[in-house]
């Protein structure tokens, strides 16, 4: 829910499927800047009556364990430079996303008003796009395509050539969707590549930059700062690719029911008994969303063997992957 004229704070609440939340004795979520969407580290999160507190990490993520189930308790978020915010625990939903409003807006203007360099966010998604309410879909590395597809690239078009890539943002979920029952795995390592367009075929070409991303929390929004890398995009088209690493660290175990043969009757009927069938998928699970501006799916490529192939996204779902460039 977004309330633009909210007096003190603007907050967004992301509601991921509550059916699969393990450990209900933990409040967790992410705190971001209400204007820039950038995560805010070192926000103090207090549970006022129980008197326990924690701080957000570098991705704005917090996880606050509690013992009592006091229904009238309140979560309080405070940080220097931001207006404090209180959230009654009765309004809490798993993976809550809190957008804090800066207490000194003039500071933001100083940062933004640079007339010489323009900045644009390509493929911009908003925090409500990450909300999983049946409108979103997941892009992930499924077991069936493990040998063929460990790379997924999204096409971006900059306003002009020689733009400088400064940051990449993606939406990520730490568990698969229902109906599969799965164990959440917040830990993941994956690679992110910035790839120039192949002028001959129009698909991904030379890799310009590669970075390993390591996550160890349940934050839905991941911002990757590459401003110090001086990545210059040679043409106007370029790709940002995610490469899945098929390692034990990224495993997500899911279960379904697959009956096993118990015994056979004299008439030849097979009597079955419920049994587990495990499948392993690999993090990260990327979030797809309906882009209401374009109503078009993302232009995606996957790598099959040594060659890239254009692939249709989940129509009309876009991929929550954005790139910020200076030009």
């Amino acid at each position: 829910m977004v309330r633009l004229n909210y007096h003190y704070l603007l907050f967004l609440i992301l509601c991921f499927p509550p059916t699969l939340c393990f450990g209900q004795d933990v409040y967790d979520g992410q705190v971001i800047n209400s204007v820039t969407d950038i995560a805010i580290p070192s926000v103090t999160v207090k549970l006022l009556k129980e008197k326990v507190a924690t701080q957000t990490n570098e991705r704005g993520y917090f996880s606050l364990a509690y013992e009592s189930h006091e229904k009238n308790d309140t979560l309080q978020f405070t940080c220097v430079g931001y207006k404090p915010f209180k959230l009654p625990v009765s309004a809490y939903l798993p993976h809550v996303l809190i957008a804090l409003e800066a207490s000194n807006t003039e500071l933001n203007e100083v940062l933004i008003n640079n007339k010489k360099v323009k900045q644009i966010i390509l493929g911009r998604f908003f925090n409500y796009d990450l909300k999983n309410s049946g409108r979103s879909n997941l892009y992930y590395h499924v077991t069936q395509v493990i040998a063929q597809r460990t790379l997924l690239a999204k096409l971006f078009t900059a306003p002009q050539a020689n733009a400088i890539l400064t940051s990449i943002a993606l939406g990520r979920q730490d568990l698969p969707t229902s109906p599969t029952y799965a164990i959440r795995n917040k830990y993941t390592n994956f690679l992110i590549h910035v790839i120039a367009e192949d002028p001959d075929v129009g698909g991904p070409g030379d890799i310009l930059f590669t970075k390993t991303v390591s996550l160890s929390d349940n934050s839905a929004r991941v911002d990757i700062d590459v401003s110090k890398e001086l990545i210059v995009i040679p043409g106007i088209n370029f790709f940002v690719a995610i490469e899945w690493l098929i390692t034990p660290y990224n495993e997500i175990i899911a279960v379904s029911n697959s009956p096993k043969l118990d015994w056979v009757t004299k008439r030849g009927y097979q009597m079955l008994k419920d049994a587990s069938e495990y499948r392993v998928s690999y993090q990260p699970f990327l979030i797809g969303y309906m882009n209401e501006k374009t109503l078009k799916p993302a232009v995606l490529y996957t790598k099959v063997g040594r060659s890239w192939q254009a692939t249709q996204g989940y129509d009309p779902w876009d991929l929550a992957l954005s790139a910020t460039v200076h030009y």
Partner: protein, 312 residues
């Protein structure tokens, strides 16, 4: 026994087909002549292992005289029995000999409890015991190594985390698919082997068997077994009972054949602690009955999600 044969039939077709003879064997105690229940039967090169039911019967289809493999029978308190498969062709009964363990643990009064290898169950997201894309789980036991400050401590209790999808009522969450979480397994306590520095002799002569239907946390009170740790390190192992009760499946992609493979997979899967230590403390007993360090999850995953309470 018929059930488990049906379950592994798909993999056994490598050495036999349905038209061939089925060889039935009875495992009995050499003195009493009674069946030896829950014996691990492992065919080494074929990488097949099952655990017998209470009747101590197992079956192998095919012409045994043509098979060039080795079978190992093993169960707690009996001498392991190892024999080439082709020598089983004229046998129908295998006699296991019980060995005597002299453990004279005097009743000593201890004062303070100490918790070893603590973990937070909320942080456990990785599990050992499942066939995955990167490796099949071909082990009979997994052991966690513990360290104490001095020898002679009393092992009071262990707690471990296992994979469960439907959780206890106390965990305030959904309870779907609870019936898929049933498991029973054995717990073994080992001294250190002075040569391999892995698990050595059994420190408990009695069988510790645990059954669990739901919930991820398993606590086992060991007081009645009066287990005294003779050195400053010891091992607690989970022994899989690869029988019908624990049998399920796993689906993995076979990159060579480029198709999905469905293999038997036995409960439980044991949690990996999220706390990474400096040293790998997990050991695995392979189908050759050799204890080896279990480095599947390295560089993280140095310890099982298993803690122990000892008394000084």
């Amino acid at each position: 026994m018929k059930k488990i044969i049906a379950l592994i039939a798909c993999t056994f077709t490598l050495v036999a087909n349905a038209q061939q003879k089925v060889n039935t064997f009875h495992i009995i105690d050499s003195l009493s002549g009674k069946p030896v229940a829950s014996t691990s039967v492992t065919i080494v090169r074929a990488k097949l292992s099952i655990t017998t039911e209470k009747d101590g019967i197992f079956k192998i289809p095919g012409d045994l005289s043509l098979m060039r493999d080795t079978v190992i029978l093993n169960t707690q308190t009996y001498m392991p029995f190892k024999i080439p498969l082709n020598r089983l062709s004229d046998m129908d009964t295998i006699r296991l000999t019980r060995y005597a363990i002299e453990i004279n643990n005097e009743k000593i009064k201890y004062k303070d409890d100490t918790l070893l290898n603590d973990y937070r169950k909320q942080d456990v997201v990785h599990y050992a015991g499942i066939n995955t894309e990167t490796a099949n789980f071909e082990y009979l036991q997994l052991a966690q190594q513990f360290y104490t400050n001095k020898p002679g401590v009393f092992l009071k209790e262990i707690t471990l985390n296992r994979l469960a999808f439907g959780l206890d009522d106390s965990e305030h969450t959904w309870t779907g698919l609870v019936y898929l979480d049933r498991t029973k397994f054995r717990v073994r306590i080992y001294d250190i082997d002075p040569i391999t520095h892995g698990p050595g002799r059994d420190l408990c002569t009695k069988i510790i068997e645990e059954k669990k239907t739901s919930g991820s946390q398993v606590s086992i009170n060991l007081k009645k077994y009066n287990i005294i740790i003779p050195n400053t390190t010891f091992f607690v192992a989970v022994e899989w009972l690869r029988d019908f009760y624990n049998a399920g499946y796993s689906i993995t992609f076979n990159p060579k054949e480029k198709k999905m493979t469905r293999l038997p997979n036995y409960h439980p899967a044991i949690g990996i602690s999220a706390v990474t230590g400096e040293k790998l403390n997990i050991w695995a007993l392979n189908f050759k009955h050799e204890w080896k360090p279990f480095g599947y999850f390295m560089p993280f995953g140095t310890d099982l999600a298993m803690k122990a309470v000892i008394k000084y």
